[in-house]
Amino acid sequence: MSALFILIGISIAVALVFLLLFVLAVKSGQYDDTEGPSIRALSDRTIKKKGRNNEV
């Protein structure tokens, strides 16, 4: 049963990683514009933002 100590420790650590990712996502502004991306996804017709792709 003492394996539980380790297992719970690991599970909480994993959960904390996800919490951290969430915090980073919020801080980076992913939730600032919740409507734009859904619309943008449809408009890949001709021109794409070239500035972005070049930088990456």
């Binding site: 959960a15 919490l19 600032d32 514009d33 943008r40 449809l42 070239k50």
Partner: protein, 797 residues
């Protein structure tokens, strides 16, 4: 003349979707004005016509007087305030673009680089209506970018100083608080499962679980819930018991009691309830924060003001100067279409100005040397020089609109706050009474019961009832064309006892149907001649007649044209002299003194022929609506116009209605303010001239034809055609109150059940963990579905 009525053009503009009154056809597409056509042509040249694929008629109408100047943006001081980032080859700037409203907008604005090679990339934040632009300063200047945006119909709003940053950050921190509370809630619940199901768990595991739970709940207590402690403390210092007080008390007791149990190893505590409570409460807050982001409730006159004007400096040079830096005695040079930013004195012989920006009623006025001109006047035609009399912050407009904020009215307490005082007192007295009762039996049991009462009485469900009920109402009203800025507005609407209407544009609408010609019949040639004459004049009545006659218009060339200020027009067409204007100008005698509107007389070769009667009519269905509203509200009508439509108003409004005509904007403001000091006033208006009155009223409603176009700062935006449904909306809002009260009743019921457990000393963590979510969920369900059911019954959904 009936023919002209029937053939009124109803094609819609390909660009902006407005009705084409004077249609311009190009490439078999209709446009309502040259502005829209110009945007279309620009986009076509650059291969960006996909703009019209995503949404039909995506454009915004080009306002003809948008002649904003952006030269000042190139002043380094101004530019630096706007730049987010810069290096030698690239600069990044973020501007607000309030006109962003659809997918086409995003598409076009993110392809700005096609329109100007100096722009490397651009990105839209749809929710915030912001546009981030990267550009190469060696190829394009900031002012050119602003001009480009203006040309394609997306004029940027430049705000110097960052007053709105704070509000945006609070959205982020709420999201974080919610995330952390949810994380802790889920994990603690997982660790509490053995206990929920009554498993025998070894002591060492029990303690281990309890300590982890405690560790997880510390950030919830310290970070996620800190808003409640702060709000409760602030309220108490102002001797005001808000709903936050029992919440803070409950949260604190939950934690102390649980920590005590865990540290002394006598139990597992109520950490699951604690995290769950905070999580649910924050969801309520989050729901409350949502509003119509695609609408702008905050625009005030400043958005339409120049941020900088040309100032003449000693050696004859002109410098673009930020408006806020203007000083008394500065000399300004204001061009056609620009707005005078502060109270000034005219230094030139004469200038034509238009106060429609302030008064809403369009009329050109000529001013002569040394005349004092108030802020907000727009220069028309020839540019002129002015001397500044007052700094901008003390000008007429600022005194009218700038000196108060909507916030001072938030002091009016909401329903929940008036309840919470008694609720808190009741809870605390029950807690103390049970402490006293149990003290005689056992002091440790007494303290446990005391804590249990505070825990179980924590009004989570009560706190959730308001945001969920009001937001459900908000969304129902929104689907019906009545957009409230915030949920609190619903509560303010409950108390309204007086309605104040602006007349022009709010009650009445201008339509060609309400125009007629009386007198000797005009031949088609004469009609086109008149059309030709009025199209040379900028007078609003001329524009109306032009529209009315547009279907018969042929090309007409005028041999001469003269405008007599305040009297009319004279023109030579062919061999005939036409006169249009007042009866005396034509030489006619007006036998009918009861015209329901303005008249324009027509005389040909000094012979009176007849007159055009231009009248406004009440919006469709409004008369019936006013009748219904009249039975429950006191009403007033105020108008900047003269009283020629008094009859029209009197026909439909109850006799007790107060009518006021020829009201200047500040008179409207004062009137509303004096009413608002005695009762709760709802003001409905449409233009900037009503902005002051809208702000001073308890609920200011901006009535607009097109919700994405300009509306003054207000609490709510109402679509013009939905004004007739106002009585229905008000009844609905009144009934929403009953839904909220029943939600309160349910949550009290749960509190009573919980208290009976607590007082008898039977509140186990399990009972607490079950009761709290069940009460919250059922209250949320009653609120949401209650409002939806009500809306269905009233045919609002």
């Amino acid at each position: 003349m009936a023919k002209a009525n029937q053939t009124t053009v109803t094609n819609q503009c390909f660009h902006c979707g407005d009705d084409c009154i004077e249609e311009i056809v190009a490439e078999s597409k209709s446009f309502c004005c040259h502005g829209c056509l110009a945007v279309y042509q620009l986009l076509e040249e650059t291969g960006l016509t996909d703009y019209y694929q995503f949404t039909e008629k995506p454009g915004t109408k080009q306002s003809q007087d948008a002649y904003l100047q952006y030269d000042y943006l190139d002043t380094p001081a101004v530019e630096n305030q706007l730049l987010l980032f810069e290096n030698a080859r690239s600069k990044r700037v973020k501007v607000e673009v309030p006109d962003i409203h659809c997918s086409s907008c995003i598409w076009l604005l993110e392809n700005l680089s096609k329109l100007n090679p100096g722009i490397t990339s651009s990105e839209v934040s749809f929710t915030k209506k912001e546009l981030t632009i990267d550009y190469d300063p060696s190829l394009v200047r900031l002012s050119e970018i602003a001009h480009l945006l203006l040309r394609i119909g997306y004029p940027p709003t430049i705000n110097l100083g960052s007053k709105s940053k704070k509000a945006k950050n609070s959205g982020k921190s709420l999201m974080l608080k919610l995330g952390i509370a949810g994380f802790a809630f889920g994990n603690i619940m997982l660790l509490s499962f053995p206990e929920y199901f009554g498993f025998e768990v070894e002591k060492e595991f029990q303690n281990f679980f309890a300590f982890i739970s405690m560790a997880l709940s510390i950030p919830v207590l310290v970070y996620s819930a800190n808003g409640y402690f702060i709000a409760a403390w602030k309220g108490l210092r102002q001797q005001f018991i808000s709903i936050d007080v029992p919440i803070a008390l409950g949260i604190a007791t939950l934690f102390i009691r649980s920590a005590y149990e865990v540290i002394l190893q006598v139990g597992t505590g109520y950490f699951d309830s604690l995290a769950g409570l905070v999580f649910f409460l924050l969801i309520g807050k989050w729901v409350q924060q949502r509003s119509y982001r695609q609408l702008s409730f905050e625009r005030d006159y400043k958005s339409y003001f120049p941020l900088a004007v040309l100032r003449n400096v000693k050696n004859g040079e002109q410098v673009a100067t930020p408006v806020s830096d203007l000083q008394v005695d500065d000399e300004l040079f204001i061009r056609n279409g620009e707005v005078i930013p502060t109270d000034c004195q005219l230094l030139d012989e004469r200038v034509d100005i238009d106060y429609s920006f302030v008064t809403g009623e369009s009329d050109l006025v000529q001013k002569t040397l040394n005349a004092k001109i108030y802020a907000g006047a727009k220069v028309f035609g020839q540019a002129a020089r002015f001397r500044v009399l007052k700094p901008v912050s003390q000008s007429y407009l600022s005194s009218l609109w700038g000196n108060f904020s909507k916030e001072d009215k938030e002091a009016s307490r909401s329903l929940i706050d008036s309840i919470s005082k008694y609720f808190t007192i009741a809870v605390v007295s029950v807690a103390i009474l049970s402490l006293a009762y149990w003290w005689g039996i056992s002091s440790s049991a007494a303290i446990q019961v005391f804590a249990a009462v505070l825990i179980v009485a924590c009004p989570c469900a009560l706190a959730l009832a308001t945001p969920f009920t009001l937001n459900a109402a908000l969304s129902v009203l929104g689907q019906n064309g009545f957009y409230l800025k915030k949920a609190e507005v619903v509560e303010r609407l409950w108390k309204i006892s007086q309605l104040v209407f602006d007349k022009t544009g709010t009650l009445t609408e201008l339509s060609t149907n309400s125009m007629k010609y009386v007198g000797q019949k005009l031949s088609p040639n004469e009609q086109s001649a008149i059309h030709g004459i009025v199209s040379n004049s900028t007078h609003p009545l001329s524009a109306r007649i032009g529209t009315y006659l547009s279907s018969v218009a042929d090309e007409t060339s005028l041999l001469s044209f003269k405008e007599y200020e305040g009297q009319g027009l004279e023109a030579m067409v062919g061999n005939n002299i036409y006169r249009l204007g007042t009866a005396s100008f034509i030489g006619a005698t007006d036998n009918n003194s009861k015209h329901n509107g303005a008249t324009v007389w027509v005389g040909i070769n000094a012979e009176p022929r007849g007159y055009f009667e231009v009248r406004s009519s009440l919006r469709k269905g409004l008369a019936a609506a006013i009748g219904k509203l009249g039975s429950s509200y006191k009403m007033s009508v105020i108008s900047g116009d003269n009283d020629r439509e008094e009859l029209l108003i009197k026909e439909s409004f109850p006799a007790a209605t107060k009518l006021r005509f020829r009201q200047q904007p500040h008179q409207k403001l004062n009137y509303v303010e004096s009413l608002a000091s005695k009762e709760q006033v709802m003001m409905l208006g449409d233009g900037l001239n009503d902005a002051g009155a809208l702000a001073k009223s308890d609920v200011g409603v901006a009535v607009t034809e097109n919700i994405t176009s300009f509306t003054p700062a207000s609490d709510a935006i109402l679509e013009g055609i939905k004004l007739r449904k106002l009585p229905q909306f008000m009844t609905f809002i009144g009934r929403v109150r009953l839904v909220l009260i029943s939600a309160f009743a349910i949550s009290f019921l749960y509190n009573v059940v919980g208290l009976s457990f607590a007082i008898t000393g039977q509140l186990s963590p399990l009972v607490a963990a079950i009761l709290m979510p069940i009460s919250s969920v059922s209250v949320v369900a009653v609120s949401t579905f209650g409002v939806k059911y009500l809306a269905k019954k009233m045919n609002l959904l």
